[in-house]
Symmetry: C2
């Protein structure tokens, strides 16, 4: 049994259930390997979200004919007619029937672990006659998912490599006289060239003192100027896993406030690489690294980091009040920075695997304080 299936089963047992019905895109991907297309939004030719059903090692997937794709860890896919060139199919009824067929096939019943904030009412109602009660699997599943399998670590390393290709391109694309949007187009093209296919890409791309001081925001038609600072946060999704990354750099010449911000963020990232290890709490990592920024007189309005996997933000968050203990094979994004609202901001972000004794970066792009 794939270790991810084992972890779904463990979470199911942990919440006192025998079987599970999963409806969140990232849980479905985690359990079955099926990658839901997110970029287009929910398919108009599906009645509802793809549903993964799990009974121990036995997994099934329900999805429409408009969404077919590999689901390597599902024993069987129950596909209903969502798209037809002839008519509007009775897809709601077909969807619910497929869920019931899959539930019967796997023996879903009794106490069933679900995700109550994504499970559609129509699916819950249909299952009701088979189910004694629903219980929430999410906190248990989040903890199980935090420890990555060897295969997941390779998938995440690949995502980190794509993000790094984008960061390399960013140093070329971001130049005086170019809009943020045009630079972003070139960065995306470089990532897709590297992947050889379309890649979903989420990003912050900010230039100038005012924008970088705000820490987050999509690229706009602002023209990048000579002497501007840039924050470039690139989050590609590939094969169902996410790669996060951030670099900050100046165009041609460092603006006045940049050196102090950049030196502080660099010191914070150096400290991350020095201290990140199993046994520490998320809060302890946060406290040590955050103090580098605060002691230098700058602000840090964001979390310091987060888990990553089939979702970009996973348990644990690296924040002041998170008492979770770091464990080997967690994969964490650490994104220390330094911000001075109105004046500028710098953020550096790498992906790290927590190892038995410390950490190993999965990101390999260099932080570079000047664009090419």
């Amino acid at each position: 049994m794939d270790e991810r299936c084992e972890r779904v089963a463990a979470a199911t047992r942990e919440v006192g259930a025998d079987t599970a019905v999963l409806s969140a895109f990232d849980s479905v991907c985690y359990a079955t390997g099926y990658v839901i297309d997110l970029e287009s939004g929910p398919s108009a030719f599906a009645a509802g979200p793809p549903i993964a059903l799990a009974a121990g090692p036995d997994l099934a997937l329900v999805l429409s004919n408009a969404e077919e794709g590999p689901a390597p860890r599902a024993r069987r896919a129950f596909t209903y007619e969502g798209f037809s060139a002839e008519r509007e199919p009775p897809r709601d009824a077909l969807y619910v029937d497929s869920v019931l067929e899959a539930a019967a096939d796997l023996g879903i019943g009794g106490v069933v672990a679900v995700e109550p904030t994504t499970l559609p009412l129509a699916v819950a109602e249909a299952l009701r006659s088979r189910v004694e009660r629903f219980v929430d699997i999410r906190p248990a599943l989040a903890r199980q998912r935090a420890i990555k399998t060897a295969e997941e670590i390779e998938l995440l390393r690949d995502c980190a490599r794509l993000a790094g290709a984008g960061q390399g391109a960013a140093l070329q694309q971001c130049a005086a006289g170019i809009t943020e949007l045009a630079a972003f187009a070139g960065i995306r093209a470089a990532i897709e060239r590297e992947a050889g296919e379309r890649v979903q890409l989420v990003s912050d791309l900010l230039s100038g003192a005012g924008r970088t001081g705000e820490a987050m925001g999509a690229p706009t038609n602002r023209v990048i100027g000579y002497g501007d600072a840039v924050i470039c946060d690139l989050v590609p999704r590939h094969h169902g896993y996410w790669g996060d990354s951030c670099n900050s750099f100046a165009i041609g010449d460092e603006p006045p406030a940049f050196a102090g911000l950049y030196a502080t963020a660099t010191r914070a990232m150096d400290l991350v690489r020095e201290i990140l290890r199993p046994g520490l709490t998320a809060a302890a990592v946060d406290a040590e690294v955050r103090s580098v920024t605060l002691d230098a007189g700058y602000e840090l309005p964001l979390h310091l980091g987060h888990g990553i996997g089939c979702a970009n933000f996973e348990f644990p968050l690296i924040v002041p009040e998170e008492r979770a203990t770091l464990q080997p094979n967690m994969v964490l994004m650490l994104e220390p920075g330094a911000y001075a609202p109105g004046t500028g901001g710098v953020r550096l972000e790498w992906m790290f695997q927590v190892t038995e004794t410390g950490n190993e970066p999965l990101s390999d792009f260099p932080f570079t304080s000047l664009a090419a």
Copy 2:
């Protein structure tokens, strides 16, 4: 009251309910004007989808602090803490509490119209004590939404204009020796330059005999060749509405099968412009136009058209078994084509407003059989 609010209220009454709770991204946008970001997938910092509550003219919106944005037709937004730099907030409880607060504020109760395939179980359970029963608003709301308001028609015209900017760029970007992905990057950049901001863009971009014969597919790293045919279907989303479009053209020189396919698709589109008018059924339009393709000995594996609005595919579909009658101020995509699997394919697609007496194209890009 905005006509869209009236139409939500009418659909609510039609299904025997007094109030409505909407959970699908497109319904929330239609009712409140709030544009949910789709490109990144569901927000990790939201407990569940934004929820719109409607009691006659009175609308409220529930969403997380990570999703704040204008909701011009909502009297009030109930915002809960989904993101915090300090801790993982108890966002599920806050989400449900906000829904209940909004429900109390609007007097949601009795028979409540909902969307059962997107309404999360957690929200349904929370509302249960206020609700006598849930009824499905979707078929009634789909029919109401099919008739566009004057403001919607202008929004859709603007989307058609952005799609047209992309089609213009496609004729420049698609060239021998360029990959489909690189051409797509240039097309997207042109649309975003025109819009002055990031634009969600869904697309088919297919080159060569084999690919165009398959009718649909994302751009790949296939290198476009001299004498290739290209199908370029661009679907931008702007201000919560979608613009669809398709052009087909040859690179440098028409491949052998192209002329016959293109002439057939052109004849079919000419017929659309001639016959599309209120009073016809969708099936009748389909039959007349489809026969142009079939009589020429080609295939048409897709629907002939569809409504468009806050969703890309809306009621009515223009398909053989759809008996709905076309009405003034429906906005429809018509996408006749001709396909010969293995040999090639051509698709032409424009947006049309059904008028009192006929139709008016909202698309204005020219169909052009040769790239620049």
